[in-house]
Every structure is written in structure tokens, then in C-alpha cells.
């Protein structure tokens, strides 16, 4: 591979200004940079772990040549991930003729702010929504605001403000819209095809030029921390004070951001974010739509990648169980060598995956369920949204003409040390008629498949019971009977 040019400088645009930095540590967050180095203190810190949205800013990035602005959490976003991006903070918003920006004026008029600490974050999330969709439905607004917590308003006034924004101005005339071409050109100029490299020891940071360059960097430095969307790695730093150097930032690599479909097999690049994957997946595999809507908040969905969700090996990652139930495979790559394995085989034990030194996750391949088969995912959490899974069940069923189970794959998250198939339950169902009696008879097999743990999200007992109930719900949804699911009543009997 030809060695790319090396640049020892990180470049991005902050509001209206070109920024070039040559003294950045791999763990320096955008929020600290804004507040401490730039005195831009409109962006607040409420949690430093991606949960509250007080730190929300917009990041504009080029995606296949198009400039897209997304709301993200500055507290867990590293500067290293911003090369060639446009960062927009609340200080950048202006209305026409020096007045308030339409988003801000709506928040003022509709009393969307009480103590105001959350307000700049809400303004930025609403701004992103308004540019994307100037006349959003209430459902779209609530979804867009999932990642912003407000303890004062109860959200109602903010939703009212959100619905009114377009009365105060036109999204098409907003400066970010009218200057889109110019900014895109400036960003394209920054992305000069070089690798960004700086610092050593505890301060080493690399932004590869492209995927091949990434492969060779990682081959040479297999111990490096891969940073994609940093929705996990960000917390290692802000919460656990872990040292992540040397860090390789791959969030900007176009080569990992493609989604394609060939003969019913959807291939998702490891760097595809939840938001980017949403439209394709929700269309091709509709059951995944609501699931993706419930991963994190908008900011996390804009940053977090499918590759990161798989590579982190977490037992409560939301994408592995449905992908496993669908029979997905995973491509790993080291240097120029690739291998593809069934996804479930990637997860070996808690904290242990089948990823060899120098290897990275390149793509996941997800078969679209065949016509006539049933596929469903159910996630159980404490709060309705933006919450980590207590247990998640994914079910993929094909019935034979005679009504017996021709094939079934069931996978769960939150029930074991890894995302795991319920093989004993599957065995108890395979070939049998799809009836309530068979379902009930299969339930004891859960105790063979899973011995879940008790933690603050749920007790072991609850996890096991809810997991079983999810199968009953899946049955009720697929069996065509009118009867309500016999949930707890049966259990008690």
C-alpha cells in the first residue's frame, strides 16, 4: 500500500472560524475544548457521559460529498474525530437582522426554558431537527428530543415550541443552509487525503487517510484503541479515566460507511451509524425500525456505529441479538486479509471476542428475512427510551405449510455474558406445531439456555420471566389467534 501523506495537524471549522490544532491529546473532548480552551460556555456539562444532552452541538460532516449536520454529545466526542468537520455551537445561532434565531425565539415565546441549564442543548437538537424537517410531527419531535433531559419543564412546552419554529423563519434561508456549498468546499479542502498523526506515548493520535491506511496502521500498532463513534470509548475516558493512547479515529472513513444489498443480503460497513443505517434497515427489515428508534437518544444514534456495537462485545448491545436471529455474518480484516464468520461465533465470553491482534471489524452481513417468515424484536428497559436493555429478545420463525416450525432462531441480550442464542428453546420448538401448548412446553428450556444475573437494571428472576413472556408475545403476534397472551396468569396457575 502506498503510504499516504502525513499531516501533523487536526483541522476543522468551529462556527465561522477555521481551526488547526497540533497539540491535541487523543482523549481531549470537544466539550472541554469549547468550554476551557475557547470560553464558549453556552454548551453545558450535565453528566459527561452522553445521557443528558446539555452538551449538544451540531457536527457537519461530508457524506458522499453531501454536507449533513447532526446533533451530537460534545462531552463524549473527541477532537480527534473532528478532522474535516464543521462544529456549530449555540453561540453561532443568529436570526435575521440580529434578532433571535427562530429556534430560540420559539423557545422564548413558548416558555420552553425554566432554569435554562438544558436549554442550549435543546436548542441545538431542535435546530438539527428543523433543518432536516421544518414541519415535524409530535412523534418526530419527541424522538428528536429523546437524548435531551429536562428536569423542569416536563417537555410539553418544548414540544409546543418545536412545532412553532417554522412560524419564525424558513429553514431554507438559515445561514447553515445558504452557506452549505461554501462550507462543503472548505471541508473538502481540509480532507486532503492525508493521515493525521500527532503526539507520542500517552498522547498519540492517528486519523487514518482511508480504510487501507487504517488496516496498515492497526497492523503495525495492534494495541491501539479503535475509536469509531466513541459512545463507549468516550465513557472510558470521562468516567473511568482510562488511557486510550494510541487512539485511531475511524469515524470519518467513507470506506467503512457504505450500506449495500445484494440478493437479499444487506452489508453494513462497520462505521455506519445507527442513524445512517436506519432508513435502509427500517425499510428492508421493518421490525428493526422501532428497535433502532430506541437505541440511545438522537445524539448517540448519530455517533454510535454498528461496528462499535458489535465489536465492544457487550452482552447488552442491541444489534447483535436481532442480527444473530437473522443469521448474520461478520467480516474481520487484518491488513489485506479478510475472514467472515457467523456473528454468534464472534462472542466467546464476557469481554472476549474472536478478534485477533491487528484485526478490525469491517462489515456485518444481514440476510433480509424471507417473505412469509416472521421476525420480531422486543426490548425491555426501565425507562421507555434512551435506556440500556434489561433483556432483549429477537425471534425469527418460518412455519411449514402444515403449521409446524420449519426453522426458528431466537437470540437474547442481557441474559448471559454475551449475546446468546436460545438453542435449547429453539430445539424444543423445531418441527413442532406452532401452538400455545408447544410454547408453554418449551418455556422450561429457558432455564437450560440462560442463568441471567441480577444487577440494577433487573433481577435474574425478572429477566428470566420477561424473556419467557416475550416468546409468548411473539406467539400471540404470529399465531393469528384473537386471544390475549396468557402471561402471568399461566405462570401463577
Amino acid at each position: 500500500m502506498a503510504r499516504p501523506k502525513i499531516r501533523n495537524e487536526l483541522r476543522f471549522i468551529l462556527n465561522g472560524e477555521d481551526v488547526a490544532l497540533s497539540d491535541v491529546g487523543p482523549d481531549e473532548t470537544l466539550l472541554d475544548y469549547l468550554r476551557l480552551r475557547r470560553s464558549l460556555r453556552g454548551t453545558k456539562e450535565g453528566c459527561a457521559e452522553g445521557d443528558c444532552g446539555a452538551c449538544t452541538v451540531l457536527v457537519g460532516k461530508l457524506a458522499s460529498g453531501k454536507l449533513v449536520y447532526e446533533n451530537v454529545n460534545a462531552c463524549i466526542r473527541f477532537l480527534g474525530s473532528l478532522d474535516g468537520c464543521h462544529v456549530v455551537t449555540v453561540e453561532h445561532l443568529r436570526g435575521e437582522g440580529g434578532s433571535l434565531h427562530p429556534v430560540q425565539q420559539a423557545m422564548v415565546d413558548f416558555d420552553g426554558s425554566q432554569c435554562g441549564f438544558c436549554t442550549p442543548g435543546f436548542v441545538m437538537s431542535l435546530y438539527a431537527l428543523w433543518m432536516r424537517s421544518p414541519d415535524p410531527s409530535v412523534a418526530a419531535i419527541e424522538k428528536a428530543l429523546q437524548g435531551n433531559l429536562c428536569r423542569c419543564t416536563g417537555y410539553e412546552a418544548i414540544v409546543r415550541a418545536a412545532r412553532a419554529i417554522s412560524r419564525y423563519g424558513q429553514a431554507a434561508k438559515d445561514p447553515l443552509a445558504t452557506e452549505r456549498k461554501r462550507v462543503a468546499a472548505r471541508l473538502a479542502a481540509i480532507r486532503d487525503g492525508s493521515r493525521v498523526e500527532m503526539g507520542e506515548g500517552k498522547r498519540r493520535l492517528v486519523v487514518p487517510a482511508d480504510v487501507d491506511d487504517f488496516a496498515s496502521v492497526l497492523d503495525k500498532e495492534p494495541a491501539a484503541t479503535i475509536v469509531a463513534g466513541s459512545t463507549d470509548v468516550g465513557l472510558w475516558v470521562t468516567k473511568h479515566m482510562r488511557d486510550i493512547s494510541p487512539a485511531v479515529f475511524i469515524g470519518g472513513l467513507d470506506g467503512l460507511r457504505a450500506i449495500s444489498e445484494v440478493k437479499g443480503l444487506v452489508t453494513i460497513g462497520a462505521g455506519v451509524t445507527y442513524s445512517e443505517a436506519f432508513s435502509t434497515l427500517a425499510k428492508r427489515i421493518p421490525a428493526l425500525g422501532p428497535l433502532f428508534d430506541r437505541i440511545g437518544g438522537e445524539q448517540v444514534r448519530n455517533m454510535g456505529t454498528i461496528g462499535g456495537n458489535i465489536a465492544n462485545g457487550s452482552p447488552i448491545g442491541d444489534t447483535p441479538p436481532p442480527f444473530i436471529a437473522l443469521g448474520a455474518t461478520l467480516t474481520l480484516r487484518r491488513g489485506k486479509k479478510r475472514r467472515t464468520i457467523p456473528l454468534e461465533e464472534f462472542f466467546i465470553a464476557y469481554g472476549k471476542q474472536d478478534r485477533r491482534p491487528g484485526e478490525f471489524v469491517e462489515a456485518v452481513h444481514v440476510p433480509v428475512p424471507a417473505k412469509g417468515s416472521h421476525f420480531a424484536v422486543h426490548k425491555v428497559t426501565k425507562r421507555r427510551d434512551e435506556d440500556i436493555t434489561a433483556t432483549l429478545g429477537a425471534f425469527h420463525l418460518t412455519l411449514a405449510k402444515n403449521g409446524t416450525v420449519a426453522s426458528i432462531r431466537i437470540a437474547y441480550g442481557g441474559m448471559a455474558a454475551t449475546p446468546k442464542r436460545a438453542t435449547a428453546v429453539e430445539a424444543a420448538l423445531l418441527g413442532k406445531p406452532w401452538t400455545e401448548a408447544v410454547i408453554e412446553a418449551a418455556l422450561p428450556a429457558y432455564d437450560l439456555d440462560f442463568t441471567p444475573l441480577t444487577d440494577m437494571r433487573a433481577t435474574a428472576e425478572y429477566r428470566q420471566l420477561a424473556a419467557k413472556n416475550l416468546l409468548r408475545r411473539f406467539f400471540a403476534e404470529t399465531s393469528g389467534t384473537k386471544a390475549p397472551v396468557m402471561v402471568t396468569r399461566q405462570e401463577a396457575a
Binding site: 415565546d109 426554558s113 425554566q114 435531551n148 417537555y155 421507555r384 425478572y462 390475549p484 401463577a492
Partner: protein, 775 residues
């Protein structure tokens, strides 16, 4: 009293655009030249004697300017009701997270790194982690020197008790005999974290004369001043306390956060020091709502008339008293509910444990009491096969009734509030329809539940100074901190209304102990009520000084002038013959009499209760408790029988606010409080394991997000002008949070026929109850 016709309109908050543009400065946003950054070392032991410190490595770290431990600070204790706290632990630590040492350094990373280097040698002591453990005869004692602590109330206590109290009225023991039905249950509420979005923060500086100035995130600049002065052993005048914008409080910032630590570090280094807690530190170090266990029993006649109610309450106060005795008082005071209960007795005990201190939280004590009271009313209704609203209406307090021992209740609008939620929610038809609807195919059922709400507003004292400037505008100083509830705007509106000025002619002085007169704090829904009282006085004072100038200028007698809108004084009935406030004020400033300053002072006081009729032991004075505020709430919930998950899909919340000063702001208080109530009802709970908090983050401690709020919240504002108030207003800050948990519990029972007596009503608890219920 001047006319108040401009009140009641909706207007944006004065500071709304500063907040929306991000220019509003909160404590963490402040920066001073040469400022140092502080970090706090938290105790890793729940209960231990401190044997020794080794701070040498921390001191030696480059960039460190001061390291302080309990050995370096005055041995002076402070506290709202019981002086039991120190800013850094002295001799003992009493909970995991308690500040043990503090560092000031050139930046926060260095300060944090230095704090990690401090070695503290602990001698562990057995801990008490629940009230039950704390009450054991051989329990470890959390505060051995409790008896010697100064206290400012009639404290009854023993062992680990912070306060033991009783309320008695009538003859409950006799009354049971007359009851046809008795319901009894144990109700438990959890530790709810305030979760203000702005973590606690303070910046302190000292001047050459040893005077300390502190900017901080606080609900009361005066409590902050008092506590710093007491802890640092300084006269009040040597401490100045200021609040920049405050990012929410809800009770959690009434008492000090890290102000004293910042002040100690500033004094030690002679430089400004900023201390900002991380979310995790805030959760481990600050406060929660008091967890309570309430054993409650109610007796009634077959027709539903309540005769008697008794209860015993055990509350967890955590490691320091804070306002625990007041919280205890509130639970006992409100356990009867807004009903006629001829015979009652409530006993309560709040205990020290080796955990985070518990403290006031929106609806202090009342939220716990109301969960028990209003759940049990529904249980009674069920037993008697009565409609829950019918049963409540049969028993509600009526005009002219009193609380305890003739304690007056003001306008008794509880019946009206219940009627309003009944009609607005279409209660009767909706309840019947939901009960008959089949369980949905995916296993979901809906139910409707109600709760009454009663609260008081108006404690303690308040004052105001209004100054008429030479251009005819006014400046008002009250010392009240606007923590987001909108008091600054309400102050401006009331002041403008009283003087018939445009609102933008009123300038508000930021709360500052040097510049604003005493106000005991933004809590207990007291601010708007109390400020109205003093604003009326102060503006009347202004008017009485203004009129003689106007009369002189208009060459008429003082009796012949009146205020007209727009900052003018005119000859009565001849509004073309006027002088402006500016004309009068210039005359006062430069010619005669001197600048015009109005003042107002107020403390709420009614008669002490009749001790023939009621006995109150270990309680605060009822004479100061304020006027009563009534409300009613209805929620519709959906219960998922597959997972046990409960969602609130629609809510109605009716409140008699006396008079809405700013309608939009009142609705905002109702909506915001209601959603906090949903958090309390369904998901929020701090959980400890052997004294270690297991979920100190927003990842693991969930508060409601936009999708947890009901699709529709109906805020119903009822206005019965409060007779004791010049503008007719009552407080609305807290009531909306109070009735939601029992209303949700009642709706869950209506939906799936199980009664959950423990908060929060999690999926797990519901599923367990469903299992126990069987088919």
C-alpha cells in the same frame, strides 16, 4: 392598594432569551483571572474513624496550591435545624461519598489527580444502612455527640433518631369501635435524587481584608451565607453570597453544596477557587428525598364517612440531619389528607443511617404521605364498592373547616378541584369503558386513577426594597433566587402591576446578600406568595412617598391624585393632568425629600393551634405553616402484562392557584412537576448496597425523557383569589408532583387489579404482583 389588572397574562420570562442563546452564566461558567480549581476526595468508607491522613504526595504534585483535610478546618458544626455537619469530615466519616479532603490546583485534572494521592487511614466501624438497623438496640451510633449539637426546634430523640414526633387529635382508640370497615397497609417510598440538570458548583474568592465572596448554585443566598459564616467562624458581614443563574434545585440546593469547601480553599490560597462536582460526585455527595415506610390504617362507616386514621412512619434521614425534622413534620401533618378526619394519631421517627443525607425535595414529606394516604383511600373505595371520586367528595374539607386544632385552611377548594378533573377527564365514562375493554392482543390494559392534593405555601420571612430611580423606573431587591420557577418574572409582574408600570420598567437585583434584603430561600412553594406580600407593602410605601411630590407639582392636594397606567400620577378623574414618575423622582432626588425607597417585610403567622383539640409533639410551629393549597390529579396508565411496564398516557392536573400571575409559567410548573411525579412513581430510585450507591449516573438512574411524558397533559388552572394575599396568589411550585404516584398506583389497580404499595412502580414489581395475583 393599587390595581392589579395587568396580572394574569402569559409573558415570556425576563431572562428567556439569555437562556436560549446560551449567554446566561451559571456558576460553572464563571472564570476569574488566576482562578484555581478544586477537587474533593470522597470517603470510601460508610462509617469509620479517621486515624490519619497523608497528604504529602498530593502536596508535592506540581500545580497543587492547597490540600486541606478535616484537621485543617475550624471544628465548627452547622446545620439548618441540628448543627451536625462539617464541610470536611472531622474525626469520623458517616457515608461513602462524604467529603474528606479538598485540593486546589491550577486546573481540574491536577486537582483530581492530587485528590487521588491523598491517603486516609480509616478504622472501620459497623454501619447502619436502614432505619430498621438503626433502631436495633445494639445499633452502631452514627452521631455519638448528638445531645451536644445545637438545635433550633423542640427535638425529641434517642439512639439514632434525629427526631421523634407525634400528631394527635380526637380519640382514635375509641373511634375504631364505630368503624364498619377498616383498611390497613404499609406503603414505602424510595430515595429519589433531585437530578437538577446543573450539578452543584461554587466559586469563592477572598479580599485583602479576609472577606469571603461566594458565587454558587443555591436556592438561598442567605442560608449559604449563614452556613459559610458558621463553618468558617466568621461574622455574617465577612461573607457575601451571590447566585448567578441556577440550573434547577427542587430542594436539593437549599442547604450548602460545595460553597464552604470553595471558601476554605480560597481562604487557604488567597485566590479564587472554583469547585464543580461531576454528576457522579453530586449524586454520591449531595441529597435525596427521604425514603419512608408508612403503616397506615383508616376506619370508616359503610357509607364511606371516614372516622379515624392512625399511622406510624419511619424515615431514613441518612448521615446528616439537614431538614429531616421538618420533613418528618410534613409527613405527619399531611397524612390525614384533605379530608375530615375526626380522630387521628400519627407517630413518626426519622433516623440517622450511614448513607447520603436525605433532604427536602419538591413536596417534602407530603409526597410520601400522599402516596400512602391516597392509595389507601382507593383501597377503602374498593372495599366499599364506591367510586374513588365519590368517596373523596364525601369526606373532603369544606369551607370553614380547619386542619388541626382550628388551624385555618383558607379557601377549601378541594371539592372543586376533584369535580374539575372528573369532568375534564370524562372520568365516569372513561373509567367504565376502560374496565370493560378486553386486554389487547399484545397483553396491554389501561386504567384510570385519581389523587387529591393538599399543600401549604408561605413559610418563614421575606422582605423587599423597591427604589424609584430618577428616570421613573424601579429597581426591586428581594433576595429571592429564581431557580427556574420564574419568580423574577412574577416579581416584575406584581411590582409593575402595583405601580401600573410596564413590566420592562422594573429591574430585578440578582440575589446577593450585600445588595438584597433577607429571604429565607426558594422552597416550599413560598416565593410568589411571600413576595406578593412584601411587594404590595413596598410599592404602597413608594406610592405614599410619590403622591406628595405629585401633588406639589400638580398644585393640588395629596388626596386628589391617583396612579394612572404608564408611570404617571394624575389628578383624580382628569388623566390629562398628570406628572410622570420621572418628574416626581427627579424632584425627590434633586430638590426635596431625597430618593424614594419603599420597603416591605413579612412573616407568615396565624394563631397557634388549640392544644385542647390537638397534641403536636416534636413538631414545628403550626402557626407558621402557611395557607393551604388544593389540587386533584387524574392519570390514565397502560400496563403491559408481558413485561409489567407501566406508562402514563394522559394526565389531568387541576390546581387552585388563587390567582395566576403568569398563566404560561403556572402551566409550566404543573407540567414539569407532573413529569417529575412520573419519575417518582415509575422509575427513579437510588439503590445502595452496604452503603455503596450502586447507580450514581444518568445511565443507571433514569429520570423521565420526552417519551416518558404523557402525550397529553391537561393543566387546569382554578382561580379562587386567596383572601390573605394582596394579589390573591398561592404557591404552585410543588403540588403538581405530589399526587401522581398514588394516582398511578390507583390507575394500575384499576387496569390490572393489583395494588403496588412500594415506589417506584417498576415493571419488575408489577410483574411480581401479577404473578401473585394469578388469573
Amino acid at each position: 392598594m393599587s390595581q392589579v389588572s395587568e396580572l394574569g397574562a402569559s409573558m415570556p420570562r425576563l431572562e428567556a432569551s439569555a437562556k436560549a442563546t446560551g449567554v446566561a452564566r451559571y456558576t460553572a461558567d464563571l472564570a476569574f483571572p488566576n482562578m484555581l480549581h478544586g477537587a474533593v476526595l470522597m470517603s470510601t468508607s460508610a462509617h469509620a474513624r479517621i486515624k490519619s491522613y497523608d497528604v504529602s504526595a498530593a502536596r508535592a504534585l506540581p500545580g497543587v496550591r492547597a490540600v486541606m483535610t478535616g484537621a485543617d478546618i475550624p471544628r465548627k458544626r452547622f446545620g439548618l435545624m441540628i448543627a451536625d455537619e462539617t464541610a470536611l469530615a472531622i474525626d469520623k466519616v458517616r457515608y461513602i461519598g462524604e467529603p474528606v479532603a479538598a485540593v486546589a490546583a491550577i486546573d481540574r485534572e491536577t486537582a483530581l489527580a492530587a485528590a487521588e494521592l491523598i491517603q486516609v487511614e480509616y478504622e472501620d466501624l459497623p454501619g447502619v444502612f436502614t432505619p430498621d438497623e438503626a433502631m436495633m438496640p445494639d445499633a452502631a451510633i452514627v452521631h455519638e455527640t448528638f445531645a451536644a449539637y445545637p438545635k433550633n426546634f423542640d427535638c425529641i430523640a434517642d439512639g439514632n433518631a434525629i427526631s421523634i414526633a407525634q400528631v394527635l387529635s380526637g380519640d382514635p382508640d375509641e373511634a375504631w369501635a364505630e368503624a364498619d370497615v377498616v383498611v390497613e397497609g404499609v406503603y414505602e417510598t424510595q430515595a429519589q435524587y433531585h437530578a437538577y440538570m446543573e450539578p452543584v458548583a461554587a466559586v469563592a474568592d477572598v479580599d485583602g481584608l479576609g472577606r469571603v465572596t461566594v458565587w454558587s448554585s443555591t436556592q438561598s443566598v442567605f442560608r449559604t451565607q449563614i452556613c459559610i459564616a458558621e463553618a468558617l467562624d466568621l461574622p455574617r458581614a465577612k461573607v457575601r453570597s451571590i447566585s448567578p443563574y441556577v440550573g434547577g434545585g427542587f430542594g436539593g440546593k437549599s442547604e450548602p453544596g460545595v460553597q464552604i469547601i470553595a471558601a476554605l480553599l480560597a481562604r487557604e490560597t488567597g485566590r479564587a477557587v472554583k469547585v464543580v462536582l461531576s454528576r457522579q460526585e453530586d449524586m454520591m455527595m449531595m441529597r435525596s428525598r427521604h425514603p419512608a415506610r408508612i403503616h397506615l390504617k383508616t376506619g370508616a362507616r359503610r357509607d364511606g364517612t371516614i372516622l379515624v386514621r392512625t399511622g406510624s412512619v419511619v424515615m431514613d434521614g441518612g448521615a446528616y440531619a439537614d431538614d429531616s425534622p421538618a420533613a418528618m413534620h410534613m409527613v405527619l401533618h399531611f397524612l390525614r389528607g384533605p379530608y375530615r378526619v375526626p380522630h387521628l394519631r400519627f407517630d413518626g421517627r426519622v433516623l440517622y443511617t450511614n448513607k447520603l443525607r436525605a433532604a427536602a425535595f419538591r413536596g417534602v414529606g407530603n409526597a410520601q404521605a400522599t402516596f400512602a394516604c391516597e392509595s389507601q383511600i382507593d383501597e377503602l373505595a374498593r372495599k366499599l364498592s364506591l367510586d374513588p371520586i365519590d368517596l373523596r367528595l364525601r369526606n373532603v374539607l369544606q369551607q370553614g373547616d380547619s386542619w388541626l386544632g382550628k388551624h385555618p385552611i383558607g379557601s377549601a377548594s378541594i371539592g372543586e378541584c376533584l369535580q374539575r378533573v372528573r369532568s375534564e377527564s370524562n372520568w365516569d365514562a372513561r373509567r367504565a369503558a376502560l374496565a370493560e375493554a378486553p386486554t389487547s392482543k399484545s397483553g396491554k390494559r389501561r386504567g384510570l386513577g385519581v389523587s387529591s392534593v393538599v399543600y401549604t405555601c408561605a413559610y418563614l420571612s421575606t422582605s423587599a426594597i423597591v427604589r424609584l430611580l430618577d428616570d421613573g423606573t424601579v429597581t426591586i431587591a428581594t433576595g429571592a433566587v429564581d431557580i427556574g420557577q420564574g419568580s423574577d418574572t412574577a416579581i416584575a409582574q406584581m411590582c409593575a402591576a402595583a405601580l401600573r408600570l410596564p413590566v420592562d420598567s422594573v429591574n430585578i437585583v440578582q440575589a446577593d446578600t450585600d445588595a438584597t434584603p433577607f429571604n429565607s430561600g426558594t422552597n416550599a412553594s413560598r416565593i410568589t406568595y411571600m413576595l406578593g406580600q412584601v411587594i404590595a407593602q413596598a410599592t404602597d410605601d413608594i406610592v405614599s412617598q410619590l403622591f406628595p411630590h405629585a401633588a406639589e407639582l400638580l398644585e393640588c392636594s395629596v388626596e386628589d391624585v391617583e396612579l394612572v397606567p404608564g408611570g404617571r400620577v394624575a389628578i383624580k378623574g382628569v388623566k390629562e393632568r398628570f406628572v410622570s414618575f420621572a418628574d416626581c423622582s427627579r424632584r425627590a432626588h434633586f430638590k426635596a425629600g431625597g430618593p424614594i425607597i419603599g420597603r416591605g417585610s413579612y412573616v407568615f403567622r396565624v394563631e397557634e393551634p388549640d392544644t385542647e383539640l390537638t397534641i403536636n409533639k416534636g413538631m414545628m410551629s403550626l402557626a407558621a405553616i402557611g395557607t393551604y393549597v388544593f389540587g386533584a390529579q387524574v392519570v390514565e396508565t397502560e400496563v403491559d402484562e408481558v413485561t409489567g411496564k407501566v406508562e402514563v398516557v394522559e394526565a389531568w392536573s387541576a390546581h387552585d392557584v388563587g390567582r395566576a400571575v403568569n398563566r404560561q409559567a403556572v402551566e409550566g410548573q404543573i407540567e414539569g412537576g407532573l413529569v417529575q411525579g412520573i419519575g417518582f412513581a415509575l422509575m427513579e430510585e437510588l439503590v445502595w448496597s452496604d452503603g455503596q450507591l450502586t447507580n450514581p449516573s444518568f445511565m443507571d438512574y433514569k429520570i423521565p425523557c420526552s417519551l416518558d411524558a404523557p402525550e397529553n397533559i391537561h393543566a387546569i388552572v382554578i382561580e379562587n383569589p386567596e383572601p390573605t394575599h394582596p394579589f390573591g396568589v398561592k404557591g404552585i411550585g410543588e403540588p403538581p408532583v405530589i399526587g401522581i404516584a398514588p394516582a398511578v398506583g390507583n390507575a394500575v389497580e384499576h387496569a390490572v387489579n393489583v395494588r403496588v404499595r412500594q415506589l417506584p412502580i417498576t415493571s419488575e414489581r408489577v410483574l411480581r404482583c401479577l404473578l401473585d395475583r394469578g388469573s
